[in-house]
Amino acid sequence: MATIDRTNSPTLAVVAEPRLRDRVDVRSLVVLGVLLVLTTALQLWGVARSPQRIDDEGTYVAQAWAVLNLGELTHYTYWYDHPPVGWLQLAGFFALTGVVEHAPNAVVAGRIAMVVVQAVSVVLLWVLTRRLEFSRWAAALAVVLFSVSPLALQYHRTVYLDNIATPWILATFVLLLNPRRRLVAYAAAGLTFAVAVLTKETTLLLLPAVAWVFWRATAGGSGIRRYALAVSGSVFVLAGAFYVLFAAVKGELVPGPDHTSLWEGIRYQLGGREASGLVWQEGTLGNRTLSIWLALDTVLPVLAVVLAPVGVFVRRVRPFAVGLLILLAMLLRPGYLPVPFVIALLPLVAIVTAGVAQSAVGMVRRKGSRLVTGILVAALAVGGAGTASAAAATWPTQLRGLTIAPLDAPVTDAQAWIAQNVPDDVRLLVDDSLWVDLVRAGRDRRDVVWYYKPDTDAAVTSGWQNYDWIVTSDSVRSDPTSFPTVQGALANSRTVAQFGEGDRRVEVRRIGATDDDPLAAARSQAGAALAANPRLDLDATATGLLQDGRVDPRLMTVLAGVAGRASFTVREFPAVPGEDAADGLRRTVVLDGPDPQAVRDALSAQRGAYLPDSVAVSGSQLTVQFPIS
């Protein structure tokens, strides 16, 4: 049987695959590459220093860590406040890269994940703007606004679920605008949008913009729209249904005794949260949030408010302008305003601004009526110059703060202090940004308790009497009345070490002690007596400390004993960082004298409270430190 050679088999010419229209363009790649390197470097510079770690970041990182190390969805009971897809992705990143082992702390590991996420977002934003037929400079402008603005930089650096959702929403737009109008791309867009919504549910507010872009992309009457809608719509709904299914399979769909439920989680997010109040009213939470944003950058918010209405008239970016308007309208509600809400606005502002600028330049180039051209040139000049000068004036200071200023020092120092001075078996109430690091350092996870949980989770012990220490930060102090355990702990504790100042300070407080200090006078007297001891040679600072009663009584006792042996010079009573700020007593001494070895042996033989934490000899010097009392 003859087989006809059909290697040149005629197929319909129409079906033959057309060459890729957007072929790889070397110049575009170069520009994108440069932008990517610069923006990533900017985001990495100071990633561990600034801004200060916050509670939310710790929560997401802890949940991701719990997925990998504890085999649970969250480190506490999962209560459906957010779908878990966001921190599951974070957990995937941690598993792939092992960054938690190598980063200085767990939240920095999360921030490095955010750097990678931002890089992906930058690439997707570039591709999206190019698919919208922006020229290279307009696309570059969009990328710069999106990455370099201090508002963008700070919020993109922080570990928020909104950041993880951003590449997915950008991918949705990119897929919808695929040049060859492939059905599989529309289906994929349905899936990526579903992942974005399951990462951060507020992304659903962008549904009108997505639907509009979809509608536009599938225009043409070729019948593709019907099937694209069927496939992408059903994929989107099914992905969401899987989340509901997940809750149902675990028996946590509807409220009931002894378990959390999806219903309650949704209800909480939609209505149960405390209203932030109107953003323009002084003193409300919303106003505070807005002022934080405006303090970081005024350029982007002004561009958003001014150009969103203008963008509606520019065909190229109309859906994005409408999406931006919807999000801005959400800001005006008196209801709850989440702090990271601004993240969803950032790519839209970038796109709308660059699109409007490009269209204006295009209209000028086309040289229509003199009047219109004149107005446009004036608007471009004023707008461009104004934006550039405002940016040049305000951005550098903020950027310096974000790259160089050691804003996270209080938390880092507190963490180091806790590691050195707080015993391993005590129970701590902490801000979640410390949780993973403390647990990884060896504490039992039931001993390190996120302050949010004792009063809200039945599985966690409540009551301040059950805890030994509490570490406070701005978030812990911000809402004292909602958490009786925290409130009681704060009232019945005394600061032992304090790092930083003002709102950003981190205090390590010991519960059970009170602020009043009945022994102050006694210490002064003892110190004065010790200072008068002829066997001890002290300088003025040391004498002053002793006479003020700033030296720990155990240390004074030991010095008295040491003086009984021989003459020593007291070099100094060094302060442990943080303890001075909390009016702590000096518990370290550096001595200089004959035979420090014998003194060391003698000191090491003490019992009980008089056993020092560490006795170190170097040459003729002896450093003695007592543990925190």
């Binding site: 059909r6 109008r181 492939r182 069927a230 099914l238 003892a526 007596a529 004993g561 042996r565 042996d601």
Partner: protein, 514 residues
């Protein structure tokens, strides 16, 4: 081991009372205390926290024990592990089958260019017009044959001959055919088939000997053919230089019943989309109607296989394995219109026949001669599809039920729902197809139809599964006899019905009930 304490136990300084430092030494080798005591309060030896005045150290508040460590669920037994693995594997397989079915169903709409390519070309061609020979086998079709032949004779094409094939034992139909031949002497001829026992492929092979055209087309005795069909087919041959052109066949009676609606949509997606995929993949089970083949090719291949229940599919497989190119074209205006089997029973019998035919082709093994491995796997998969699809439809609810009632880990549960994803997407696509069908053929789609479509998904799978099981049983028993389908009244019958072996069994459809 007691150590030599420096100054023994350093007793509590009476600093609590403001007494300057004095250390009491409790053990031997005490050092002298040098400080000058300014108070005579005795130094108390003991632990820190003890009060010189004898007050006991404050006892810590009684504390709640921290909650016990929650250990995750215990290890499962080997049986349950095996069960989970089976569930996971089955779920993945089901997803694969449902997913490929969906992907092939959507083939035509991959891009707008692809969609354009599935239609006949819009511009009339100017190439050479071949001579068509249309074969119209008929048996006991007195009522409709005459009209069909008239309509075929009226087709707008110059060079066509129509051969009506009638059995030598069927005088009624022969008379109608001869009458039509008298009316259109230059177009219609009658060919009498003397073979015994009768079936369609034999009739076609008989007529093949008398064909004078360059292209042979096969039509059914009751088809409604569009007058412009042949010119479009000729253009298609010229454009693509293909060996075979398969035109579209479309069942039209959407509203008859819930299953006829599903049947109609099946044909819609098959001819509109899926067949084009097969044509592109170079493995195509042809339809037995509105198919046009180059004559010399047919003669080289010795015509149709007289022994096969699905002779059209078999011919397609043979063509593919020899490397001949097939092109499919579907245009709503130019399709050949038909109707579904009249009753559910007849549908089951029709499907049993198709399934059995596919099995026969599979067993016959001609597909092994396909050139590439990918094509051979596609052949295996396609020929087994009726069975896979039927059982997929049944297994999905079963696996879900199992998950709901048995205790399985969460991720296994979730995984067993994954096959539902392509299933639900398929239903959405079918809905879109239904609406498009309504637009293309100006048929009103009512809410009832939509509900029937969605609710009928699972019952239809049951019907197909029953047919598949019957086919397997019949093939295993070696029973390839023709099953008579009941008909009531004169109306259209399905395209591919073949009558094999049983003497005096009626061809095509029979108006007499069994």
């Amino acid at each position: 081991m007691p150590r030599r304490p420096f100054a023994a136990v350093l007793t509590t300084l009476t600093f609590l009372l403001g007494v300057p430092s004095g250390i009491a030494l409790a053990a031997p080798a005490a050092a002298a205390v040098a400080a000058t005591p300014t108070s005579t309060t005795p130094l108390v030896q003991g632990d820190a926290g003890a009060d010189p005045f004898g007050r006991p150290a404050p006892q810590p508040e009684p504390r709640t024990e921290r909650p016990a460590e929650v250990t995750p669920a215990t290890v499962h037994s080997w049986w349950s592990l095996g069960g989970f693995t089976a569930l996971v594997v089955v779920s993945l397989l089901l997803t694969g089958v449902a997913g490929t079915t969906l992907a092939w169903m959507l083939h035509a709409w991959r891009t707008p260019q692809h969609l354009e390519a599935t239609r006949f070309s819009r511009t009339p061609g100017t190439g050479r017009r071949p001579r068509f020979s249309l074969l119209v086998p008929a048996r006991h079709e007195e009522d409709v044959l005459g009209e069909t032949l008239d309509r075929l004779a009226a087709v707008e094409y110059d060079d066509v001959e129509i051969l009506a094939i009638v059995g030598h034992d069927d005088p009624g139909t022969e008379a109608v055919a001869r009458a039509a031949s008298t009316r259109h002497p230059d177009r219609v001829r009658v060919v009498v088939d003397h073979s015994v026992p009768k079936n369609k492929p034999k009739a076609l092979n008989t007529a093949l000997l008398e064909v004078t055209g360059d292209v042979v087309g096969v039509m059914d005795a009751e088809d409604e053919v569009h007058p412009h069909l042949l010119s479009n087919v000729a253009d298609r041959f010229a454009e693509t230089r293909a060996d075979v052109v398969q035109g579209g066949v479309q069942l039209m009676n959407l509203h008859s019943s819930w299953w006829s609606l599903r049947n109609v949509l099946e044909y819609y997606f098959w001819f509109r989309s899926r067949l084009h995929f097969h044509a592109g993949a170079k493995f195509i089970p042809l339809g037995g109607n509105t198919v046009f083949l180059r004559t010399h090719l047919l003669k080289t291949l010795d015509g149709w296989d007289a022994e096969c229940l699905a002779e059209d599919c078999e011919l397609g497989v043979r063509l593919s394995s020899r490397g001949y190119s097939v092109v499919v074209a579907y245009d709503p205006e130019l399709v050949t219109r038909e109707e579904t089997p009249p009753t559910l029973r007849s549908l089951v019998k029709q499907r049993t026949r198709w399934c059995q035919g596919f099995l026969q082709v599979l067993r016959k093994g001609i597909w092994r001669e396909l050139p590439s491995r990918r094509q051979r796997w596609l052949a295996r998969y396609t020929l087994s599809m009726p069975f896979l699809q039927a059982f997929t439809g049944l297994l999905i609810p079963f696996s879900i039920a199992m998950v709901l009632f048995a205790k399985v880990p969460t991720w296994v549960s979730l995984l067993s729902f994954v096959p539902l994803v392509p299933t639900v997407v398929t239903m959405a696509v079918e809905l879109a197809g239904l609406l498009e069908f309504g637009r293309a053929y100006s048929v009103r789609i009512r809410v009832r139809d939509v509900l029937g479509l969605l609710l009928g998904t699972f019952p239809y799978q049951v019907v197909l599964a029953v047919a598949a099981v019957r086919a397997v049983i019949r093939e295993a028993q070696g029973d390839s006899s023709w099953e008579k389908t009941e008909h009531t009244g004169a109306h259209r019958t399905p395209a591919t019905e073949v009558d094999v072996r049983t003497a005096s069994v009626d061809l095509v459809t029979d108006r007499q009930t069994a």
